[in-house]
Symmetry: C2
Subunit: 213 residues, 2 copies
DNA sequence: TTGCCCCAGAATGTATCCAATAGCGTTTTT
DNA sequence: AAAAACGCTATTGGATACATTCTGGGGCAA
């Protein structure tokens, strides 16, 4: 583990935060992380700054770093923003998706439908949505959307565990509608289906404030 | 200038970038900045990372830091995002604006109308819009919007200089419509007026690709 | 008993030094 | 003469050592 550049440290920590190994609110001590990676505290500081930019970590001067935590209203806001940004993003993506990407998207919809495992569901669902945006040019819009997905990942997991993937028939239908819009290159249809999908999720999530103890 | 914390350095650099002292594409050498602030390179590195998070500075590994630059399409995208986010933000802000803030907003509209100075116009216009969002809770949405305002500041200046504030009658009308919606607590009206305002600006800007040589 | 203050420990922030890398000019070879 | 390879220099990246700041606990006084 010789080249322990900040981006490498950040990537590992990002993985651990997204996978739930590191829970929101958990403290991140620079020295511990530095020891784990066999590096000094300097690259760790840089890595934490990078993650702060992703919204995954919250830094407080002279105090320390914590895994970011969302309040119920912040999570609600995140979904409101998703509702406005992701339809725009998918409309920019659709014209440029490749044949292999379209094929993978179709695969994902059926895989999502057949999985009973929560972690698999989360991974596949994330891949489906983010892949549907892969045709869009890299830029601010994609960064914003990815940042929202990152910061809300933990709460999606908590909600999935809570509901245990019950009543997911509607979700599957929505995914099919989105896919249909994509395959038919009907941006407007895909945008509307996606907007409905996100809005319904937002409303459902708002009914479970217990996720934000 | 004893306590040269990263945030202090970052704040000063931010000011200089926004005010145009530092132009997009300009290189930022760590040592120069460190010398200017009488600090070591360490806090400067942190400051640059902070500014990278704001989108104002672009860092390249083992190479250096430059003031961020937007392409024409990136700027266009920024306005598309504004068009979707700022109406949402203003709707969240309107219910919580204080009387003194409302008074200031009204003042600003007339001041903007009367100024002939470009720098004043930019400053007042920025204050008007950002103040109209001041009632919204701090959070992701406000951060996104402020980031967009920061990264596009230079191009607003360039455009203002180009047009020399001519044909700004429409702008003033739009500001009045937005203000009217705010004062009447008519969120829907304010959202629509704001959306039109941003969309028109976007289209107008797209007609001047020469700003992005 | 309670509130405040002070002190000690730990963690973060800063400075200096050394290593690694990229850019660029020169030189050498074909 | 042109192109490629070598080496130099300037700048950034990383590690270690030191200063500063925050937090928690204990003791003293009201």
């Amino acid at each position: 583990m010789a080249p322990s550049s900040p981006s490498r440290v950040a990537a590992t920590l990002r993985e651990e935060i997204l996978s739930g190994v590191l829970a929101p609110g958990e403290r991140l001590r620079q020295e511990d992380i530095a020891a784990r990676f066999g590096a000094s505290r300097q690259p760790v500081r840089d890595a934490l700054r990078l993650l702060e930019g992703d919204g995954l970590v919250t830094l407080v001067a002279n105090s320390g770093a914590w895994v970011s935590k969302l309040s119920e209203s912040e999570c609600y806001e995140a979904y409101q923003v998703r509702e406005r940004l992701e339809p725009l993003l998918i409309s920019q993506s659709i014209p440029h998706l490749t044949a292999s990407q379209l094929k993978r998207l179709a695969e994902l919809v059926t895989q999502i439908e057949n999985t009973k495992d929560i972690e698999s569901f989360l991974r596949l669902d994330r891949e489906f949505h983010l892949l549907s945006y892969a045709g869009a040019a890299p830029g601010m819009l994609r960064e914003f959307v990815e940042r929202i997905w990152n910061t809300t990942q933990h709460y999606r997991r908590a909600f999935a565990k809570l509901s245990n993937l019950q009543n997911s028939e509607v979700t599957h239908m929505e995914h099919k509608l989105i896919l249909d819009g994509i395959l038919r290159k009907d941006s407007a249809a895909a945008q509307q289906a996606l907007e409905s999908h996100i809005r319904r999720t937002r409303v459902t999530l708002a009914e479970h404030k217990e996720l934000f103890s």
